[in-house]
Amino acid sequence: MSAGPLAELSATPAPSAPARAGTAGPSPAPTPPRGLAGARHLLSMADLDAGGIEEVLRVADHLGEVVHRSIPRVQALRGRTVVSLFAEESTRTRMSFETAARRMSADVLTFNAATSSVKKGESLRDTVETVAAMGVDAFVVRHPAAGAPALVSRWVDAHVVNAGDGWHEHPTQALLDCYTIRQVRAEADGVPLPSAGVGCFAGLRVGIVGDVRHSRVARSLVLALGTLGAQVTLIAPGTLLPPSPAGWPVAAVSSDLDPVLPELDVVYLLRLQLERGTGEYLPSAREYTAGFGLTARRAACLRPGAVIMHAGPMNRGVEIAAEVADAAGSAVLRQVTNGVAVRMAVLYLLLTGEEALGADELGRSLGVAGA
């Protein structure tokens, strides 16, 4: 490849060097604070620095509590309108976002572009501007083309949350994954969650296994974990690695899972699009499973306490064995649960802007409201 040692490699600003947890040193003068409160959009994990990620996780701690109430709803986004604009089917992500918005009393409009005017030839821009004209505070955008949420953010005044664009990014998935890792680590260490920072990520060894090339989940997760100081290894057959991972904050890239597996604190399995196993990218799904599936035999090689994660939906028996998915070390269902709380936090911070309460203040506020 002719991509040589370019000076300015990454598309969005390169993830900042791993910040030492707990130290909030003065950032360089021209860099704006990279958190969500006061930000316009969440398009990429590169939009957040370590402090910004920690803020989302800690706000999610408090908003997640709402779920356990007899009436799981607060007024935080009352009067706000959130549109979920899905130009690609994704029932799980859409339901997670819509549940998050409703739990904060936002009005939710569902625009299923896969079955509406877009099919009739209306352009994405016209669709978005038409919906925006109805008075909308935020768009949650899922689109099969990389960059579509970034375009939407230029066309409307509303906030935009990227809910997955092509192979590019899926930042709320990365945030809920970070939330889940932090939750599991805090429990293991006996630390109450609201006081846990993001120090647990420093040096954390994470293996991301599978179709990295076509995975928006992987791109966001790599950025998030890099920002938080984790040691990430990408593990995939050569056809499923990105053409050039130059500039990615990863410690290693490998096509051999077995030697890496015993070293990992977290093994993160990516969904295999089964059509990849038809001879074009892989000889067969069976051969993939033989080399890269987390079988019971392989799971037995994991360190005690290692966490098994998957963004779902799972292909049981392909990238993960059924008994592994359901085993004690699996955090798969926690990821789903945490998705709602993290998306509540993202919407809350973006939509309330500068008025957003800090995590501690929010906790006190919700505590009073719930009393």
Partner: protein, 441 residues
């Protein structure tokens, strides 16, 4: 005022052509250069074109313009494209055949040539190599050559099948025509929207690897050697493509190559905001490629700078990368952009006359439009030659306002850019079709 129709004096400029550079006025009468010397007297009633601080060059010649007619007149037509060309200093363009229907028959070629009769520049047409540009059956090249077509290409697509390309070159050799290749192996490039590399990997955008171009360049050099046919490589974009072409030229093969102003200027860094204005085929590549293309121009390995002027209506470009068509405007900005990329520092450091060679007389030769081929383009500026001239001010600073472009489309990557250098007057067969930067019809 006594009128002397067709008499024009270009006064006070510096004449530049393949024969050299000298201070001279130029007298044009009846569409032909009548005199070239300093201090010419102005005949009564002649139109005087001020050329102070300007260069007087043979009109620019574009080997690669998509005029979109017939079939996509909402994007461009021969009239508007030719007006854009004239404003850019061009007196001839080669219209690409990927129209709808494509220029793969005498009837369509005749239609486009007829539209060109009233245009603001000479409109030559390129014919398709294969019927429907489908890459399987040879188009009626002899029938098209009889209409004056000298360049054939399936541009927009490369001829994928090596056997078809071999036969096409053998057939073309007998006709004395040149085959232009859009070098792109579909098996590697299909589905891609930008250069494949670190940036595409990060952005999650399917890529078009450099090798997709380079493999076809290598193949067609081999086929040129095998058949003795002439190959013109369209819009080369990678360092290794150019190196292969340079080696083929050194070997004495009949190959020529063009590069575009945008590939001499931009890299894939422009795609980081997913702005489809910068989606183009071949894609914008790396800093190393830009540097190599510039160096190749300076070293004489490149025969022409061609625009690949590719108009698209605004709604087509106002879309995600995966949905937007590739291509960008070029005719009105090529001169300034090329001067910036290749001219004196901070460009490649070429002399301005050598830059003009790449924009005028060398492409005229590739297209068979120059005097050596019985044509009227590319100069020299000498008595008896057709008066197709460009009077350009290399120091004129201007800002690109898409709304003021003559093209029917607005997809210029230079929108809002401040450029230096512009055609002041353009003379087509003795007629000042552009006067003081304004199109006269």
């Amino acid at each position: 005022m006594t009128s002397a129709p067709g008499t024009v004096v270009v006064r006070g400029g510096t004449v530049v052509d393949a024969t050299g550079t000298r201070r001279a006025d130029v007298l044009v009468a009846d569409g032909v250069v009548a005199a070239v010397k300093e201090g010419l007297e102005v005949p009564a009633g002649a139109t005087v074109l001020d050329a102070a601080d300007c260069l007087v060059s043979p009109g620019l010649v574009d080997l690669h313009a998509h005029l979109r007619q017939p079939g996509a007149e909402e994007a461009e037509c021969v009239e508007t494209g030719s007006r854009a060309a004239a404003l850019g200093g061009y007196t001839a363009v080669v219209a690409m055949p990927n129209t709808d229907p494509p220029i793969d028959s005498a009837s369509v070629a005749t239609e486009v040539l007829a539209l060109g009769e009233a245009a603001l520049c000479r409109v030559a047409v390129a014919g398709a190599i294969t019927v429907g540009r489908a890459g399987t059956r040879l188009a009626p090249m002899a029938e098209l050559a009889a209409l004056g077509v000298r360049l054939f290409t399936d541009d927009g697509a490369g001829v994928q099948d090596a056997g078809v390309m071999r036969r096409a070159l053998e057939y073309a050799r007998g006709l004395g025509v040149t085959l232009g290749q859009h070098c792109e192996v579909d098996a590697l490039a299909a589905g891609g929207h930008m250069h494949e590399g670190a940036r595409s990997s990060r952005l999650g955008v399917p890529g078009i690897p450099a090798e997709a171009e380079e493999l076809m360049v290598a193949r067609d050099i081999a086929l040129a050697r095998m058949t003795g046919g002439r190959v013109h490589f369209l819009h080369l974009s990678t360092a290794r493509s150019l190196a292969m072409v340079a080696a083929a030229k050194a070997e004495g093969l009949a190959v020529t190559a063009e590069v575009t102003p945008h590939h001499l200027t931009f890299t894939d860094e422009r795609l980081t905001g997913y702005d489809a204005l910068f989606k183009v085929n071949p894609p914008l590549r790396t800093d190393e490629d830009v540097a190599a293309l510039r160096a190749g121009c300076a070293a004489g390995q490149v025969d022409a700078v061609a625009t690949d002027h590719a108009p698209h209506p605004p709604e087509a470009k106002d879309a995600p990368l995966a949905e937007a068509p590739p291509g960008m405007l070029g005719l009105e900005t090529a001169l300034a952009a090329t001067l910036a990329a290749l001219g004196p520092a901070p460009g490649a450091g070429m002399r301005i006359e050598d830059v003009l060679a790449l924009l005028s007389w060398r492409p005229a030769a590739v297209a068979g439009l120059d005097a050596a081929h019985g044509g009227d383009q590319g100069g020299p500026v000498a008595p008896g030659m057709a008066a197709n001239l460009c009077v350009l001010d290399p120091a004129l600073a201007w800002e690109v306002d898409p709304a003021r472009l003559a093209s029917r489309s607005r997809n210029t990557p230079w929108a809002g850019s401040k450029l230096t250098g512009r055609a002041r007057h353009t003379i087509l067969r003795g007629e000042p079709v552009v006067f003081d930067g304004a199109a006269q019809r």
